[in-house]
Subunit: 514 residues, 2 copies
């Protein structure tokens, strides 16, 4: 086994946080903007988000939702209505107080005191209350139900400590908001959208996730139930990748969302909301990245295949470009995952080797280099991002298929890469969940300092509430742990609560988390 | 000719403003949100915008642009850098001054005095300055040029008088920002994107537009040249539907966007920006709407064909639904304009006639009703939105093709509707442009009060600048007129300036405008 010279400086195994930052820079995905807590999402990072949007939007519409757009600004009064919602959100939000600037004393600009708003406006941190106002106007009778809406939007939560994609003051997301005639249907819908998120994460992003209910203390402010999908990052930490909330009648009562039922009576709706954000891009990095940079799952790769002609500023370049363009056209005419294949012929100025490593770091699933000798032999030099190195030689593992053979096999190769990323991540996650942990001492030992990336524990508990739950949360906090969720597909409880010693009622996952 | 009972109350010919508001409500496109100057875009309105986004985004990407995302908030200092830009924008903007709310004396929420921002942030009214900062970081050498970026975003300009879609405090748009190595290339790109807008407006939206340069007084703050596409609404007013700006070195100097050229010297870039907004939805309404509501061009109709089964709550409904579902599947398997056909089988509760008129008001291009008798005969009842009435009978002009014949002809029908809307609007516009107007008295007479919807005038002028231009602008303002643009394809000037009597240098369009 020869030594491999990886494309990044940081190593996942040594400094995961530094490695994460380096991947984002090396793959040219995003950067700090200079505006506090806000990032600039660059073409490769935004291209991945656009692909995610397209695939998730299709899934959301397939469930009968319509897209809409609601105002960025929310009047203060909306937040004052739902008590828990105020409590949970009325903290760190961006507040607009003026609508004009004028020249200040030092020649700079200042807010015009004469243009102070009578009532300040909040930049939306989420839109339950403003959707609620509209639902109250739009819903008259049972015939208007269910009302199933979704919007793609930017939201702002003033975060003190930010990290690109994972926690930024402004982020992009979709937020679904639905109103139903009864509890059963609303609860079903909450779980249906959770399942949409699970399928999206696993099938489109190759992210294995565990779907389950969040404990009481982690509920969305104002929700009756909050469900999540949780993904395991390569450092063993959990990342909440999407949530779905059953809101009961809480927001319906606060906003007056009522309907005339079939008997003529006035009844409050039951509502749901659910969201997925640009945070998911962070999950892709920390799940699929390696010491050479990002590896983008082919389903969401802006370019699935990148062709690099090895140009030499000589007359022969013309024939080489023609050979590559023919290949591009062949591949672009093909389909993968039910869509036209996305293939780039990269003719930007630059040395072929430098460009190869740029695309490796960006994580394009397949890189195809073509030099003069390849052309003469009718072949190409193929590099799969998921099998980058030849362990024996320590060199990139190039294959040399005939050009036409590549065109015939490419869709299958992409499907194989997509499936391979999912199974690799699934195996890693399963290897890092320890089950049947029965004592707090085992938990403490497991998360002791010397365990670098300790993974998750599955434990049984009695589902404490109120002060008893607070006590559990505090004990876990001392270990930097949280209860992630109660997995839907966990085995039934059969033992004692690890915290209270009482008979257990369900199994929960404990983990450190982003 | 029988009398026709139109679906709306207001008439375009009588009260255009009231008619516009009624179309928006009757087609269920948008409504006031309760937040000052902001609207809620409802599913049908947003569906049209989503279609516009998809088609324009494809055109923008085909020109080699990458999508990105920049922060919503812009530091004050950015606006202070470019003098004219400050002047033009530092007026009515939303200013964020606090990042937290706390409980106030009366129990409500108030901005926390302890959470006042050191430097206020502006909610972006446009993003030249913040793109400029990034371009200055990203561009090093001539190899990095051209840099061609675009973003889809919400922007805020605090408007005093708002009108849905046409002028709202928050609106949605795309803004392209590019940097080039030299003036020639940047000017070419400005015009290339103007041409992209022209093609998009005419080919996708069936909106005939006139592309040309705006006069000096209408330039974007900080631009060297501003170009626009101008569309004529049915009341004869002009609507600026898109703009493309050549910014010279102005923003490059303000932000420090420099590159090392091939000789090793440092040179400022030449930049461009261009945008199209949700205003374009207003243009579609005022161009294609009629006294029965909206007529959506098939290319941007969320549903191109709506099938309405005439259900009767009887056992026969099942067979009727199956017949309709077969039709839906046949149509959905077809393609129109290079995309799968968008067809809805509308089974929502409600009377068939009421639902028909809902879809007429929304402007679905083709409505297909199917009753029991239709099914027995293997036919359908077809209503084309562009030929709604049978003039002789005053009744809806239903046709009764065989179901299979409809499936075979539908793509052609949609293409015919799309082309028909464009030619109808083009003919109306040409009929309402008066050319070769040679005296101000003719202009005054033309725009006298008794002329209800006076259309546009083409006049010749000497292209005055500075105070001379100001004087012209004032004279026109007294007539509520503005110079729209200098059409690219206008004939050369051959007479005298209508304002100054000097030899004319070009032809301009005068109009009242939105």
């Amino acid at each position: 086994m020869a030594e491999i010279r990886h494309a990044l400086t940081a190593r996942r195994a040594e400094d995961f946080a530094a490695w994460y930052q380096e991947v984002i820079a090396a793959a040219d995905m995003a950067e700090e903007s200079g505006v506090r807590g806000c990032m600039v999402i660059k073409p490769w990072g935004f291209g991945i988000w656009e692909r995610m949007q397209r695939l998730l939007d299709d899934r959301i519409k397939a469930q009968g939702h319509d897209n809409v757009y609601f105002p960025l600004f929310i009047p203060l009064a909306n937040f004052e209505r739902e008590a828990e919602h105020v409590e949970g959100f009325a903290k760190e939000m961006a507040v607009v107080t003026h609508h004009r600037l004028i020249a200040g004393k030092d020649g700079g600009l200042v807010p015009d005191p004469d243009a102070k708003l009578e009532e300040p406006l909040v930049v939306r941190p989420t839109s339950e209350t403003i959707f609620g106002d509209a639902m109250a106007r739009w819903i008259r009778s049972w015939r208007d139900l269910p009302l199933k809406l979704n919007q793609w939007a930017n939201v702002v939560r003033w975060e003190m400590r930010t990290r690109m994609f994972l926690r930024t003051s402004e982020f992009l997301w979709q937020e679904g908001h639905t109103a139903h005639a009864d509890e059963v249907e609303a609860r079903e819908h909450t779980l249906r959208m959770l399942e949409v998120y699970r399928a999206f994460a696993e099938e489109d992003l190759a992210l294995p996730v565990i779907a389950g209910e969040k404990p009481e203390n982690e509920r969305f402010p104002g929700a009756v139930e909050t469900w999540s999908i949780e993904a395991m990052m390569q450092d063993g930490k959990a990342l909440q990748a999407g949530t779905s909330h059953y809101l009961g009648e809480n927001f319906a009562r606060a906003s007056g969302i009522q309907f005339q039922d079939k008997d003529g009576g006035q009844t409050y709706c039951h509502t749901t909301s659910w969201g997925v954000s640009t945070r998911m891009v962070g999950a892709i990095i920390m799940t699929h990245g390696d010491d050479d940079g990002l590896r983008v799952p082919p389903q969401v790769a802006p370019w699935q295949v990148v062709i690099l002609p090895m140009l030499r500023d000589k007359p022969e370049d013309e024939a080489l470009l023609a050979y590559c363009e023919e290949l591009r056209a062949m591949l672009a005419a093909d389909r993968a995952f039910g869509e036209p294949l996305r293939v780039l012929l990269d003719t930007k100025p630059g040395k072929a080797a430098a460009k190869r490593w740029d695309w490796v770091r960006k994580g394009a699933p397949v890189i195809v280099e073509v030099g003069g000798r390849d052309m003469e032999q009718g072949v190409v030099s193929l590099l799969r991002r998921d099998r980058l190195w030849d362990a024996a030689s320590g060199k990139p593992a190039f294959a040399n298929p005939a050009r036409e053979a590549l065109a015939q096999s490419i869709a299958g190769t992409l499907a194989e890469i997509q499936a391979g990323l999912l199974s690799e991540a699934s195996e890693r996650r399963e290897a890092n969940i320890t089950r049947n942990v029965s004592g707090m001492d085992t938990v403490e030992a497991h998360f002791a300092e010397d365990q670098r990336y300790p993974g998750w524990l599955e434990v049984q508990w009695s589902k404490p509430t109120g002060p008893a739950l607070d006590a559990v949360v505090e004990r876990l906090k001392a270990l930097k742990l949280t209860v992630r969720n109660v997995p839907i597909d966990a085995l039934p409880a059969d033992g004692r609560c690890i915290f209270t010693g009482e008979p257990a009622v369900e199994r929960v996952l404990l983990a450190r988390a982003y």
